[in-house]
C-alpha cells in the first residue's frame, strides 16, 4: 500500500509549481518575520526591574519605595535622606536575610507609623505604639459584670440593653462586614434604650466602608465626614488637594438619633480612629476613654525584589475640621480604667453616667467638653 502511495505521489507532484511556491513564499515570510522581530525587539521585551536582588538592592528598593510613596515625611519632620545615610552604613551583601530584615525594620520605625510594616516569611516589623499604652479594655470584665454573659451577637457586633436601659454594642473589628439588615435588627432591638454606648476599644481597624455603614445610622442629614488626599508624584509634598467627602443617612433603614457615647482606647486604630473622628463631630455623640491609636493614612502595599512586602501610609485622611489624626483623636472625656479593679470598668461607668445625665436633662449640652472633663476630673 505504501509503495503504491509513494509512486502516485511522485507522479502527481509538479516540481515547477513547488519552485514557484518557495520562490514567492520565502521572501514574504522573511519580510513578515523581520517586521515582527524588529517590533518585538523595540517594544516587546519584558520590563527590567530597577533594583538588584541582593541585600543592598533590597535595602535601596525599600528606601526608594518609602521615599516615593510615604505621605507623612514633612508632617512628622523625618529627614529621610539622613535616615538613608545612617542605615545604609549597616547594610552589606554579606549579611543574612534576618539581619537585613532587622535593619530595614528599624529604619521603618523611624517613621513612628503603625501602618508601616515590613512583611517577610519569618516576621513582621511593626511600630504598634498602642502595645505600650494602657489597654483600657477588659472584655471578660464587661461580659461578667455588665452583661452577665447574656448578650446578642450579629455582624461581629456584641449588643445588649444594660440594666440602666442604655444600649451597649461592642464592635471588635472593622474587618467584620456589617450587613445593613443585621444593623437594622440590632438597632431595632436597642431602640427602646434611652441612650447607646458604642464600644470600639481595642478595635484595630479594618474596612472604611464599614465606617460609613455604621456612621450612616447616626446622622439625620448629609454630613461632612472629612477630607482625603493622595500622593500625586514622587516628591514628599506631592499631595492632591484634600477632597471633602460626605456621608448620608442610609435610606429606608433604622437610624438611632438619641444620645450616644463612643468608648475609645489607644487600641482604636486606623479605620476605628476614622470612625471616632467622624462620630466625635456629631452633636449627640460624646467620646469617652483614651486617645485613639491614630493611623489616618490609608495604607498601600508594595514589594521588594526578594519578595518581602512593605505596607505604608499613602493617602492621608483628615477629620471634618481638616486636621490629620495620625497621632490619634482625643476623647471628649478622658478616663482610664483602674487596672486593679476587676469588677468595674471606669470608662463604661462614665459613659453610663453621661447618658443618665443627658437623658435626664432635655438635651446633652453641645460641645461642653471642657466643663464635662473638669466635672469628671473632680
Amino acid at each position: 500500500m505504501l509503495s503504491r502511495f509513494n509512486q502516485t505521489t511522485r507522479t502527481t507532484i509538479n516540481n515547477k509549481n513547488n519552485r514557484v511556491f518557495f520562490k514567492n513564499v520565502v521572501p514574504v515570510v522573511q519580510c513578515c518575520l523581520c517586521c515582527l522581530i524588529l517590533c518585538c525587539l523595540c517594544w516587546g521585551c519584558a520590563e527590567k526591574d530597577e533594583f538588584e536582588r541582593d541585600q543592598v538592592g533590597n535595602f535601596e528598593a525599600l528606601w526608594t519605595i518609602m521615599d516615593e510613596h510615604y505621605s507623612f515625611f514633612d508632617y512628622k519632620q523625618v529627614d529621610w535622606n539622613e535616615v538613608h545615610s545612617r542605615y545604609r552604613a549597616l547594610v552589606s551583601n554579606d549579611m543574612t536575610d534576618r539581619e537585613l530584615f532587622d535593619v530595614c525594620g528599624d529604619m521603618l520605625k523611624e517613621l513612628r507609623d503603625g501602618h508601616t510594616n515590613l512583611i517577610a516569611s519569618h516576621d513582621v516589623s511593626r511600630y504598634w505604639v498602642w502595645e505600650q499604652w494602657p489597654v483600657n479594655y477588659n472584655e471578660r470584665l464587661i461580659d461578667q459584670h455588665y452583661l452577665n454573659f447574656d448578650y446578642k451577637r450579629a455582624s461581629g457586633i456584641k449588643y445588649q440593653i444594660l440594666p440602666d436601659n442604655f444600649g451597649y454594642m461592642y464592635y471588635g473589628s472593622f474587618s467584620s462586614v456589617i450587613g445593613e439588615g443585621n444593623l437594622d435588627l440590632i438597632l431595632s432591638y436597642l431602640s427602646t434604650a434611652d441612650g447607646l454606648i458604642i464600644d470600639v476599644r481595642d478595635n484595630g481597624g479594618g474596612y472604611l466602608t464599614n465606617v460609613e455603614t455604621l456612621v450612616s445610622r447616626f446622622i439625620g442629614e448629609k454630613t461632612l465626614a472629612g477630607y482625603i488626599c493622595h500622593k500625586t508624584g514622587k516628591g514628599h509634598n506631592d499631595l492632591s488637594e484634600p477632597y471633602a467627602y460626605y456621608f448620608e443617612p442610609t435610606k429606608n433603614h433604622i437610624h438611632y438619633l438619641k444620645p450616644v457615647v463612643v468608648l475609645a482606647s489607644r487600641g482604636s486604630f486606623s479605620a476605628t480612629n476614622n470612625f471616632v473622628s467622624i462620630m466625635k463631630s456629631l452633636d449627640q455623640v460624646t467620646v469617652v476613654g483614651d486617645t485613639t491609636g491614630g493611623g489616618c493614612g490609608l495604607p498601600f502595599t508594595s514589594e521588594l525584589p526578594n519578595g518581602w512586602r512593605v505596607r505604608f501610609s499613602s493617602c492621608p485622611i483628615m477629620d471634618a475640621q481638616g486636621r490629620l489624626t495620625e497621632f490619634g483623636v482625643a476623647p471628649d472625656v478622658r478616663v482610664d480604667m483602674d487596672e486593679d479593679d476587676h469588677t468595674h470598668d471606669a470608662i463604661l461607668d462614665t459613659a453610663i453616667d453621661i447618658l443618665a445625665r443627658a437623658t435626664a436633662a432635655p438635651r446633652l449640652p453641645q460641645r461642653s467638653n471642657a466643663k464635662l472633663q473638669q466635672q469628671y476630673d473632680n
Binding site: N17, C35, C40, E47, E50, I65, R309
Partner: protein, 308 residues
C-alpha cells in the same frame, strides 16, 4: 482502494476533495481494517481508526492535484475563526508593585473576516478574553490579570499587486479593552482597573500558496492603536477615594507620547475543505506612562484556531 480515493481528490477542487475524503473515509476504514488486521492481528482503536486516518491525511497533503490558477486567488475567504492563545506573559504595573511579574498567558477569541464592495474592502471583528497568571521572581506572590476586548477594523485591500496570490490591506481600527489586574495580598491597592478605547490603524499582508494540494494562507497582521482614551488613577490614589466621589483626572487622552499598544500576529491557515485550521504566533504589547504610573505588559503566545 487508496488509488481510487486519490483519483477522486485529483479530479476535484479542494472543497470537493475534502468532502470526498470524509465520505470515503469509513469505506476506507472498512477496507484497511481487514487488511491491517490480517497484517498485525491487532484489534486496537489505533489500528482500526487512527492509522488509516493518518495515512489518509498524508495522502491529502502530499498527493493533491495541480492547483488551478483561478482569478482572485489572493482573496482571503470570508471566515470566522475561534482561537485559543497560550504562551508567556509579563506584567509590570507600578500601581500594584514595582516588580515585573511573569507567567502564563491564556486567551480565547473569535475573529470574523468578511469582504465587501467586490473584494475592495474587508472588515474584521474580533472579540476575546484573556487571562494572565504571573508570579514574581521570589515566587511568593502572583497577579491575576483578566482582560476582555472587542475590536473592529475596515481595511482597503490590494490584491495581486506583486504576485497573483499576494494581498495587502490596511485601514482604520477601533478597539475597546477592559479588565483588571488583581494582587491578593496588597492592602488598599489590591486591584487596578484597565480600560481603554483606541483608534488606530491595522494592516495585513497575506499569501495564499498551495502546500501540495492543500491551500494555505500565510498572514501577518499588525494592529497599532494611535490615539484614544484610557483610565488610570492618580499616582497613589486609592479606589476608595474614587468610590467616595473624587473622579478628577481619571480619564486620559492616550497617544504615542504616553501610551503605546501593538499586536502582531503571524500565522498560517490550513484549509481542509470548509474547515480551516489555524496555527500562529501572537505578540501583544501594552505600555503606558501617566500620573507617574508605569505599565508595561507583554505576551508571546502560540495561537491555535478552527473555523466556526
Amino acid at each position: 482502494m487508496l488509488s481510487k480515493f486519490i483519483t477522486c481528490g485529483a479530479n476535484a477542487n479542494y472543497a470537493n476533495f475534502t468532502n470526498c475524503l470524509f465520505s470515503k473515509f469509513m469505506e476506507f476504514v472498512k477496507f484497511e481494517k481487514f487488511a491491517l488486521k490480517k497484517r498485525c492481528g491487532c484489534h486496537s482503536t489505533y489500528c482500526t481508526y487512527c492509522l488509516p486516518f493518518i495515512l489518509l491525511l498524508c495522502c491529502s497533503l502530499s498527493v493533491a492535484a495541480e492547483p488551478a490558477d483561478i482569478p482572485g486567488s489572493a482573496v482571503l475567504p470570508n471566515q470566522s475563526i475561534f482561537m485559543l492563545d497560550a504562551g508567556y506573559a509579563s506584567v509590570h504595573d507600578s500601581y500594584l508593585t514595582p516588580i515585573t511579574y511573569d507567567g502564563i498567558d491564556l486567551g480565547l477569541s473569535i475573529e470574523a473576516t468578511r469582504w465587501v464592495n467586490r473584494y475592495r474592502w474587508l472588515w474584521q471583528l474580533g472579540v476575546g478574553a484573556g487571562y494572565n497568571y504571573v508570579e514574581n521572581n521570589a515566587q511568593n506572590n502572583e497577579l491575576h490579570k483578566v482582560m476582555g476586548d472587542i475590536s473592529f477594523n475596515m481595511q482597503h485591500a490590494w490584491l495581486g499587486l506583486i504576485h497573483p496570490r499576494l494581498g495587502f490591506s490596511a485601514g482604520p481600527m477601533t478597539q475597546l479593552r477592559a479588565g483588571i489586574v488583581y494582587d491578593a495580598v496588597n492592602s488598599n491597592n489590591p486591584v487596578t482597573v484597565r480600560a481603554h478605547w483606541n483608534l488606530g490603524a491595522t494592516g495585513m499582508a497575506w499569501f495564499n500558496p498551495l502546500l501540495g494540494r492543500l491551500p494555505i494562507t500565510l498572514r501577518y497582521q499588525l494592529q497599532l492603536p494611535v490615539a484614544g482614551v484610557f483610565f488610570a488613577p492618580e499616582y497613589d490614589e486609592s479606589y476608595y477615594e474614587i468610590y467616595l466621589g473624587n473622579h478628577k483626572n481619571l480619564a486620559h487622552l492616550g497617544w504615542w507620547g504616553n501610551r503605546f499598544d501593538m499586536t502582531n500576529y503571524l500565522g498560517a491557515d490550513l484549509r481542509l475543505g470548509k474547515t480551516v485550521l489555524r496555527i500562529g504566533y501572537r505578540n501583544r504589547l501594552e505600555h503606558w506612562t501617566v500620573n507617574n504610573l508605569h505599565v508595561h505588559d507583554v505576551t508571546h503566545s502560540i495561537v491555535l484556531g478552527i473555523s466556526l
